[in-house]
């Protein structure tokens, strides 16, 4: 008993040195358990399934012309959409954070719409807009461009998805930019374009890159917005996520797992590059 009493304050102090706050074990335990159950266990099932696929079959699945074409469509359309989002997002972010104009708040609130709108709704909406009788489809058809069920339609839907990532990445940087730096540049004789090129652009470039990377990553994996507007024509507009679903529906679990793991690898790579980029820019800032 005396032993126990003597040990008590001692033990208390040992815990206190680590932290006075309670709940460490409980919260960490629950978080790690939940993370494992919902994310890690399922993902490892996927990776292990792909690992058990016979290498020859794996190669046959990944190198099948239909697969390579789906990868070309997914990555090509996502790259094009990310580039378009970058340009348009830069203009929108610039205007929203620099110029007071009527309707600015409404425009600003609308930017988040693609985050909030269910992808299936976006998908049927863009199909309707771009179809030959739609609001955009009819003028496009007059120009000889088919919108829906073509790669063009896929790119347009992906721009819708990616635009807010770009705008929301640049906006805070543009707004927190120190006005005095621009004033200094102007007082030293730089014109507006030079100020933009030499002073503002270097500041927003990392944020723009991060936003574009996120838009690209999201576009590569996008399913709902694309599945309707693309028409899913094999070798033409079929994307990787749709091909994965097709393989699942044909009970080709091994093929689906192989494709999904490849995409998972791409996502991880994107996260790593982003993390590395941020650490680098943080170091440079210091």
């Amino acid at each position: 008993m005396a032993e126990l009493v003597r040990s008590l304050p001692f033990r208390r102090r040992a815990v206190a040195r680590r932290s006075a706050l309670p709940g460490y074990g409980l919260t960490l335990g629950w978080s790690v358990l939940y993370l494992n159950l919902i994310v890690l266990l399922p993902l490892s099932a996927l990776v292990l399934k792909a690992a058990t696929v016979d290498p020859a079959r794996l190669a046959a699945t990944l190198l099948h012309p239909r697969t390579t074409s789906a990868f070309r469509v997914s990555f090509g359309a996502s790259l094009a959409a990310a580039a378009l989002s970058a340009g348009m997002g830069l203009v929108v972010a610039w205007v929203l954070s620099r110029y007071p104009f009527p309707g600015r708040r409404i425009a600003d609130a609308l930017i988040d719409l693609p985050f909030a709108l269910p992808t299936a709704v976006a998908g049927i909406t863009w199909t309707s807009l771009l179809s030959a009788s739609g609001w955009f489809g009819r003028p496009l058809a007059a120009l000889g461009v088919q919108g829906a069920f073509t790669p063009t339609g896929v790119v347009v839907a992906l721009v819708f998805v990616g635009l807010p990532f770009v705008v929301r990445s640049i906006q805070p940087v543009l707004q927190s930019l120190d006005p005095e730096v621009e004033e200094a540049a102007a007082s030293l004789g730089a014109d507006r374009w030079q100020v933009f090129r030499r002073v503002i652009w270097p500041e927003i470039r990392p944020a723009l890159l991060a936003g574009v990377t996120l838009a690209f990553a999201r576009a590569v994996g996008e399913y709902g917005s694309v599945v309707f507007v693309s028409g899913n024509l094999p070798y033409r507009t079929e994307t990787v996520p749709f091909l994965i679903v097709t393989k699942l529906e044909e009970y080709d679990y091994a093929g689906a797992a192989a494709l999904a793991t490849t995409m998972l690898g791409v996502s991880l790579l994107v996260l790593l590059v982003l993390g590395w980029w941020e650490r680098r820019s943080a170091r440079l800032l210091r």
Binding site: R98, Q175, A186, A210, E222, G224, G275
Partner: protein
């Protein structure tokens, strides 16, 4: 840490315009015009088309479409999934944010990175992983079949897939808040004799409530609108495993365009409500911190 779906600036601060920072009126006019053009073409037109298509056959057909038994079943399932997923993810978000924001431990960077993972993977992957776990040829498939438990092509699987996809929303909002707030106030409360629950209730929660609410709103919106992941695990059993988004797909693919847009308009209204809600939350003094 990549910015994802949060907004990391404050809108109610009007842009500060100094003479030297103003661009020539011509440039300004062109850029404002271009920005409005982009917003009109990419954001306003889709919104308008949802409602015009939904009302194409008149109000009566509109209300008939959203009152069909199948639509109501889809709504019930969507609400069930959301009602289970959001509290689960909120509980995880609070616990994980507390552990990450208040303590140092090995592997913290890894845990933080893993939390972001569901944001970057395709929703289709969020579905296929559960097919591989619980499907007939999956890890637990044979055992489940033996015991007559249905997870795949039934609500439990759809709940899991939705939880996977919406996993990061709450926790991502809370970690930066907790880290920026610091732990001194809570330590003071503990020293003054507060219990763990009291510290949370009286010190932590008031400081993070707007961020928590923001995360909950985003998580709810995404859970109700999830499509890809749920589509993979639902099995598309009519009248049983259709959520609102899957029901929209079903209607649209059977060429019932107006009813499809009628149901879609409900989801669109919901997302507009989300936008208003998150906007109000920001004006209510939610401070965002640069990650």
């Amino acid at each position: 840490m990549p910015v994802c779906c949060g907004r990391r600036w404050r809108m109610h601060e009007a842009p500060r315009l100094l003479p030297v920072r103003t661009d020539p009126p011509v440039v300004r006019g062109i850029l404002i015009g271009a920005a409005w053009g982009i917003v009109a073409l990419f954001l306003v037109a889709p919104l308008l088309v949802v409602f015009t298509e939904a009302l194409r056959e008149g109000w009566q057909r509109y209300f008939a479409a959203i009152r069909e038994p199948e639509a109501l079943q889809a709504l019930r399932l969507t609400l069930l999934i959301t009602g289970v997923v959001v509290p689960l993810n909120a509980a995880f978000g609070l616990a994980a944010a507390w552990a990450i924001g208040r303590f140092q431990f090995r592997g913290k960077g890894l845990v933080t990175a893993l939390i972001d993972l569901p944001f970057t993977v395709s929703p289709v992957i969020g579905g296929i992983v559960f097919v591989l776990l619980f499907g007939r040829a999956g890890w637990f498939g044979p055992w489940l079949q033996e015991h007559g438990i249905r997870i795949l092509f039934a609500p439990p699987g759809m709940i899991l897939a939705t939880a996977f996809v919406t996993f990061p929303f709450v926790v991502r909002e809370l970690i930066p808040l907790l880290e920026a707030q610091g732990r001194e106030e809570e330590e003071a409360a503990v020293v003054l004799g507060a219990s763990g629950w009291q510290v949370f209730r009286r010190v932590t929660l008031p400081a993070i409530r707007w961020g928590l609410l923001y995360g909950l709103v985003m998580c709810t919106a995404r859970a109700m609108g999830e499509f890809g992941a749920v589509s993979v695990v639902s099995g598309h059993i009519r009248g049983q495993t259709n959520t609102l988004t899957l029901y929209v797909e079903l209607l649209y693919n059977s060429y019932r365009t107006a009813p499809a847009f009628a149901v879609a308009s409900l989801l669109t209204l919901l997302s507009l409500l989300t936008l208003v809600g998150t906007h109000v939350l920001e004006i209510r003094g939610l401070r965002r911190f640069e990650p």
